[in-house]
Amino acid sequence: MDGEDKEIKDWVTRQGSKKPKIFMGRTGKFKKMKFVGIDVGGTNTDAVEIEDGEISYVKTPNETESVVKSLKKIGRDADRIVVSSSLPLNVLHERKGGATKIILIPGPGLDFSYLGSTVKGYVNHRGDIVEEIDPDELREELSDKKDNLAIIGKFSNRNPSLEKEVYEEALNLYKDSEIALGEDVQGLGFPRRVGTTILNAKIKRSVYSLTKEIRAVSSSFFYFKGDGGIIPDFVALENPMELVNSSPATAALGSYYLTGEDGLVVDIGGTTTDFVEIVNGRPRISEYITLFGHETLVRSAEAWAIPVGGDSFIRFSEDPLRIGPERRENAVAFGGRYLTPTDALNCLGEEIGDYKKSIEAMKEVSNDSKSLSDDVIDAFVESICRESSKVNPSKIICTGYLGRYLAPMIGRRLGCRYITPEHAEVANAVGAAVSRISLALYMRIDTDRGKMVCNGEVEDIGKRGSFDPEEIVSIAREKVRELAMEEGATEEDVEDVCLTYFDSYDVIRGGYRNGQISNCIVQISPGISSEVAR
């Protein structure tokens, strides 16, 4: 493991071993609360501060340390910092995750050899190791080195030993931040665990770096998850795929906070345009999402996206011209070299950034730059409308930095009402800032070993008999309420706790029930904090 990795690993362990103190500044009853939401988009990093209902924000271009720069401007004495980042998603979108070597430990069962390289070894349904790894075969398989590595064993979340064995061997060739293990992904379903872990391997490094960057200025913070929950940063590093689709849930929460209305949120960003429906103030949740052709065990707001945004690269040479899928640089209006839809808007009379540069550049491409710009925006609006019409919206809420320019065109073409709330350009960051402490708790109880693990923290419960499933869930519910309130949540905010995963099985040896292992994830239901309620 190289120096940098070790450093990250060390503080992750360090932070993980003690209770994170996210809540820093609440000294007296009369102090005004200050909540900070950060949204790292494809182009800009938005930081929003909400204090006493007043919203202020800074936008920082995503160059180096954009989060740090924004936090230095805005988040210094915040009571809570919540970060939503589309960085890992963009890594996947732009296929910058590198090539992944996939080592499977599937043992007997269905034939999964189509998913990756298979090595010997097997953990059975009770978590027993019933087949061992063959070290020679493993070394041979590993020798085919790629950019990163995913290791997935069947039933590995019932016993990770075999995955750990492969991991130890792999450290000779890979850095810790390049290796993802299946055990960190909760839930049964080997093919989906494989899909999730492969994607984890591709994004792990970027989430590590981001976390490290933020840690440099803020001792602790929360990440916003795809299903609207928030978790302490160090918990997120184990299964970063949970963060990957956070943008739709923040957009939904932020839009609802800003408008108080249900509808289809069309979030037009620099790199992508996201769509999410708000029903009764909340996004719908999909239990398991499929991303980039990989079926995953990731729970997330039901949303869909197209790789088309304000900074998308335009292929003028194709007929009809094509927008996206990649983003190369900023728009010309923001110092880039390639024309984008943002520049086209400037040619049609908007004044976004250095709009004169856009006009000049467009003139170089075409004698009739206005009609070319029309074509660009027409194609842009058309692709957004095509996606929107999938759900027949009666109302659209346009957010993101181009939202207010495009909303009337989209609304007209769809024939529906459109809203562009004030601060729509930072709706996602608002969503992160107003989120209640919808803390998720990962709990594992092992009665045989007498241990309870809550978000990585081990507690002794002493040897004891089995629990009823209801008993386990109610312990978890109480625990997550307690933790959320320690973090500063109000009683009102922790009332509604949902169970998102449960799995319990008896450990039987030689005909005797030896113990019981239960895994359970509960979460304070996502929503807007009562502290900032409109």
Binding site: L110, D111, R126, E295, Y505, G511
Partner: protein
Amino acid sequence: MRTGIIYHEAYLKHEQSPTHPERRERLAYTLDQLREEGIFEDPRIGIIPPREALLDEILLVHERGYIDLLKRMAVSGGSIDLDTRVSAGMYEQMVLAAGGALTAAEKVFNGKVRNAFALIRPPGHHAKPGIGAGFCYLNNMAIMVKNVIEKDMAERVAILDWDAHHGDGTQEIFYNDPNVLYISIHQDGRTLYPGSGFVDEIGLGRGEGYNICVPIPPGSSDDTYRLILNEIYIPVVEEFKPDLIAISAGQDNHFTDPLTSLALTAQGYAQMMREAVKLSEKLCGERLVTLLEGGYSVEGGLPYVNLGIIAAMAGMSIDKIREPEVYKEVLNRRRRNVRGRVERTLDELRHILRDYWDCFR
């Protein structure tokens, strides 16, 4: 969707006592395995909830007096025999198991699925019209088959009962019936409950020749079953030309089963099922219904057996279906060379049955 799995959470509830061999882990472990393999998300497979069997449907097989007795026992608690107790609330579970068998057949006949596996509990093949026995209360298979014929869905049904125990209940119910071919492969009755199922039990009256018992010696493994399928089951069923192939899929012939002495492997089960599926494709428009019967190897092979059966039914690859290697020793201890004895049994059977089946002439 190709294969329907009939399942209800209530099937996990049936438990005579926590240490009784027919206990809930039987299904719980199998379900964990199926979930981990991603079976329930495969587009070829769908979970179908069972309906309850109606009293009239049950009465096509069982006597009213016996059903009344079961209902009374399910209120006050009682015992049919030493192995077969009835506790409170159990009647609903029986009715849901029989209903699961009916649901499987209905989905197959109305074309919703090509074949179906009812993962039901409690099992049924020892239950007779007037009395239950051997962990069985209602004869799920008989109730399904009688109803399929009564409701004109099929005229002729071929049952293969590969449970390690002779299905004496099912045999008795169809003993006079020429429209139901009952073939049972089981551990020799001289060495295992219920002590019946010898080669000369061939049916009575119009049903003569339509009941075939193939007793096999302890230690019999995959090759024995393959031989019997090739020599007896496949030729007879091809000649019988059923409208439905039904399988009483006991899993207690697995080499880790604590109550029997047979030595079938998960791969062996998968291959048998693949043969049955092929036969259903050839003879009866792919209609095949599989019902779970016994199988008590709670800690050993059950998850792999069920997985193998489902994979074969759904047309998935069965190449990697096997037990973990730690069980190899157990298999080697249990498996015996029984080829000579089995061949003598088959010769005897062919001789006895030659007047009823052209394939044996």
